[in-house]
């Protein structure tokens, strides 16, 4: 401890000395745990209004960093002459702040996992209906978690395996990931192809102008983007392929652009793009309004 204090003052206050860094880092982490968890009785002693004030303040401060970095103008050389003119003084803090969010997000993953495991363990312990499937889930989870974590550690050179254990890890992870999870994933999502047709039938049988437009557009796009569209246009209807030659008449130009693949492309990029952009603008403005409400804790029940 004698070495660390002069080092912090003389060198970089944010960085631990290289000598005995592992020991210092471990002590600091333990200290941080004691300090942060030691705050709990203090927080618990707060009245309900004080608790809400803390949550609201933290929410506001967390958003303030990103909002201020966005709203403050760049080029702070008048105040900080050495600063980079393409950014303001908060810009360097954005990446570390995002790393903090990523770390908390990783902890939240553990929260979800804990919830899942707790639910299925309870199913098994209490022998609830179809508890056998919960056993399957738990075994699959534990096996995959072991291989996935070991594989991640091995990739980071934190787990050094050789010989048979290494082969078991590689082969086991390949079977679990490539031959099982990836296949189940693809099968599960391709299953939607079947259901989307029944959904389409229900949507299109509604007899209205809107439903007709929707059906017609979907049919043209579906046929136009696959080889069937080109076959109908060029083989069956005999339409000319490719762009019209330079200086061609209006009739030839029209014939060159009424094939199904061209019409499908035109629908996608000329008619669909602005409609989607309008939806996105609506989403963006709505999102902005919601972001302000959340940031200022005006949205009750969230914070």
């Amino acid at each position: 401890m004698e070495a660390i204090i002069p080092h912090l003052i003389a060198q970089n206050i944010w960085q631990l000395p290289e000598a005995n860094r592992t020991v210092y880092a471990t002590l600091v982490v333990l200290g941080a745990f004691v300090l942060v968890l030691g705050l709990i009785p203090v927080l618990q002693a707060l009245p309900p209004r004080g608790r809400r004030a803390i949550v609201v303040t933290v929410t506001f401060l967390a958003g303030l960093l990103f909002a201020a970095e966005f709203f403050l103008p760049v080029d702070w050389r008048a105040i900080f002459p050495k600063d980079d003119p393409t950014r303001n003084f908060l810009t360097p803090a954005i990446q570390p702040a995002q790393n903090v969010l990523q770390t908390i997000g990783a902890l939240a993953l553990g929260l979800g996992t804990y919830g899942l495991v707790r639910l299925h363990l309870r199913n098994v312990v209490q022998r609830r209906t179809q508890w056998g499937y919960s056993v399957v889930l738990l075994i699959a989870f534990l096996t995959m978690a072991t291989f996935s974590i070991a594989n991640t550690l091995a990739e980071r050179q934190l787990l050094k395996l050789e010989g048979t254990p290494q082969r078991v890890l590689e082969r086991g992870f390949t079977i679990l990931f490539d031959y099982t999870l990836v296949q189940l994933d693809a099968a599960m999502f391709s299953l939607i192809a079947f259901y989307i047709f029944s959904a389409a039938y229900r949507a299109f049988r509604i007899r209205s102008i809107e439903a007709s437009i929707l059906m017609f557009t979907a049919m043209v796009v579906m046929i136009g983007v696959v080889p069937l569209g080109a076959y109908i246009s060029y083989q069956l209807l005999g339409l000319p392929q490719g762009p019209a030659p330079e200086g061609a008449g209006l009739g030839t130009q029209i014939l060159h652009s009424i094939d199904l693949p061209d019409i499908a492309n035109w629908i996608l990029f000329t008619l669909n793009a602005p409609a989607q952009r309008a939806i996105e603008f609506g989403v963006g403005i709505g999102g902005l309004a919601m972001a302000i409400r959340l940031w200022l804790s005006l949205e009750r029940g969230v914070t």
Binding site: L16, T152, Q183, I213, G284
Partner: protein, 226 residues
């Protein structure tokens, strides 16, 4: 006989393909009706997906953004991040549950702040490109053709009509209502195109599965595959 011997799961690769096919058929068995075979693989899928995420999304992120900065680079301030994040786990406690809302508030506040940045980087350039679309032929744009101008006009009209349709701040009457109806029809064209694209994407996945079963498992060469 040679085909049959090759077909059997006698090598690790063949065994993997057999496992993949069994998984695929188990999931597709739902098309007939809900059955124990499907339920077994469905639960296995959830377990595997949850287990897998712990490696790259849990351990890897914690190592990169917490362990490495503290123990390798020596940045001690990061030590407070994980104890603070651990407050999330109080969500399971009735007495201390409110403490988890401090961390949830951090995530929500930061997400709201990040949305301001996203709005500028995502929506403002789109607005800019829409406003800059040339709507008439001029010597300033020698490459512009009549069809491009017509398409640009269509783009602006569709965008404005759909935005009008989504304006609920006042009662739409007369010309505005007719313009909004036009917007609704254009919206249907857009949704039809999205639907068609989604169907084709799912069909692509289905074709991929059929190809896997026929080509990889049954070893029937399709589309020039050996």
């Amino acid at each position: 006989m040679d085909w049959f011997m090759e077909f059997l799961p006698r090598t690790p690769e063949r065994l993997g393909i057999w496992i993949g096919v069994i998984c695929t058929l188990a999931i597709y068995s739902l098309l007939y009706r809900e059955n124990p075979f499907y339920r077994f693989f469905e639960h296995m899928y959830i377990g595997l997906a949850a287990g897998y995420s712990l490696g790259p999304l849990g351990v890897d992120v914690l190592y990169r953004y917490w362990v490495e900065p503290i123990w390798v680079q020596g940045y001690w301030a990061w030590a407070f991040v994980v104890p603070y994040g651990m407050y999330l786990y109080f969500i399971f406690s009735e007495r201390y549950g409110w403490i988890s809302r401090i961390v949830i508030g951090t995530l929500i506040g930061a997400s709201a702040g990040l949305f301001f940045q996203e709005f500028s980087s995502r929506y403002l350039p789109q607005l800019n490109s829409t406003l800059q679309k040339p709507l008439w032929l001029s010597s300033a744009n020698p490459d512009l053709t009549v069809s491009m101008v017509i398409n640009n006009f269509l783009f602006v009209i569709i965008l404005l009509s759909v935005l009008t349709y989504f304006t609920f701040s006042y009662e739409q009457r007369g010309g505005v209502k007719r313009f909004a109806t036009l917007g609704r029809w254009f919206l249907m064209i857009g949704l039809g195109a999205i639907f068609g694209n989604t169907v084709m994407a799912r069909m692509g996945l289905l074709i991929g599965r059929i190809y896997y079963i026929l080509n990889d498992w049954l070893m029937i060469p399709i589309g020039g595959a050996q």
